[in-house]
Symmetry: C2
Subunit: 281 residues, 2 copies
């Protein structure tokens, strides 16, 4: 099939590479505001040509939005305006309630499938794209009933071609779960980076001492505000809810240390260890 | 040389494997309270024999303590009681001020070298040991002047054999820096795990959705309390200082979200991104 990818960055680029290697995509148009990204994507053979929005959409069976969630929410109604009944549109955004709400009453709503691949890195741009990124990860499809059966089948085929396992979820529930599983991790990582940058003035010492543990915890703090501010904005209520809980969990550690209650500190850690059973299932 | 390793777990085992592969250790005695660990370490050829404390020490050129920091602080004076002037003792603990204080006035103080390899994982026991663990990481030696020149040379040779680069540091300064670079990462990771376990009752959903980002941030939360409670206890003041700063950094994110001040939120993230320049130097 012919595919337009709007946003040829980390996610759009990785999808393109995988769909090409699987022979699913016979031709990929890249659509992007950034001329440098389009140039790189062409050089890296992520896309076959670049196109303007209308031309790309008109000539594609499938249109994939892979841009920040605020931009996607704004653009999606326009994309749906431009398509006909045999075309399908999917997004890849980290928040889902806002975007399904934005097209709820659009006459072409059923041609859209709301999708979120549970993969990403702290890097961005077409150079960061990796073909095997998604393998083994969850691909969440939201509000299945609001999409046409044939559009759904097309997207399910894409998700399986990415070697992901499909999970179906309500958009509101998705946003609650991702606040826990993904969004709060980014906030703790950003706050940890700011803590170290604030208090540890000797940058050379950070660099020299940084262990694999620190690098792992702070990795997500490299993620760009252009992507993450819109996510936090769209998922504000859920993120605040989890953030409040997280601060109160940190206060328990603080209190155990202040009171030198090391038995309680041990219990807090022992409880946290349970995450191993869940993650290593 | 002949070496006794007290504590044949992750760190002791990894050191043993590397020193054997480099031909530095001609014979390694394993000393451990846990019979199962000794048995495993023998099977895995991490040690050549197990020994009781006195026998092992009497027959070794170098004694390496690789046990939790509270146990090491208690045991080190006894080990120093048992050695003669041509033997050397080193530890591997994550806190350094307490242990150097504990032997400050010991007649054999100069035979001891305070060491901390900046590597570890969330796993424990001899099965978790990996020969190439330390390569490229920092190996911190504290209070160099309190050790004899020949003991220092022996330990420097060991650290270089582990393919680590040596950094010299005052023990108090070490504990301040590791509070930032390592200890706070563990607390945030534990608190994050507890947040998710508290709020996300659907364990199956955590498991299914858990992305690489979440796994990365929460990885350290798998680390055992037996190792970490003593570290937090010994480094209480520094850890509390950093923890307070971290909570206040998180509150900035909370306030930005509550006030819907997305420009400020973007600034906080932009600032956190600077950690990339330092880590990717």
């Amino acid at each position: 099939m012919k595919i337009s990818i709007i946003g040829v960055g980390l996610i759009g680029g990785s999808i393109a590479l995988k769909l090409k290697s699987k022979g699913i995509a016979e031709f990929i148009y890249g659509i992007d505001n950034r001329a440098d990204h389009l140039k790189e994507a062409l050089q890296l053979q992520i896309i076959d040509a670049h196109a303007d929005l209308e031309y790309g959409i008109r000539n594609s069976d499938l249109i994939i939005l892979a841009i920040p969630v605020d931009a996607a929410q704004k653009l999606l109604p326009k994309v749906l305006d431009l398509i006909s009944a045999n075309q399908t549109v999917m997004d890849t955004g980290s928040t889902k309630a806002g975007i399904v709400q934005a097209v709820k009453n659009h006459p072409n709503r059923s041609r859209f499938v709301a999708f979120h691949p549970m993969w990403g890195t702290e890097n961005s741009g077409p150079k960061a794209a990796v073909s095997e990124s998604f393998a083994g990860k969850a691909g969440v499809i939201c509000n299945k009933k609001e999409s046409s059966e044939d559009a759904m089948k097309k997207v399910e085929k894409i998700v399986e071609s990415l070697d992901m396992h499909v999970i179906y979820m309500d958009a509101e529930a998705h946003d609650v779960h991702t606040a826990y599983i993904s969004h709060i991790s980014h906030i703790t990582s950003y706050a940890l980076a700011n803590t170290v940058l604030e208090k540890e003035r000797e940058e050379e010492t950070i660099f020299q001492l940084a262990s694999s543990g620190f690098s792992s915890t702070v990795r997500l703090a490299k993620s760009h505000p252009e992507m993450w501010v819109p996510i936090f904005k769209q998922n504000k209520e859920n993120v605040l809810d989890v953030l409040n809980e997280h601060i109160s969990q940190l206060r328990k550690f603080k209190s155990a240390l202040e009171k030198e209650n090391y038995e309680y500190l041990g219990e807090l850690i022992y409880n946290a260890n349970k995450i191993r059973e869940i993650l290593d299932k």
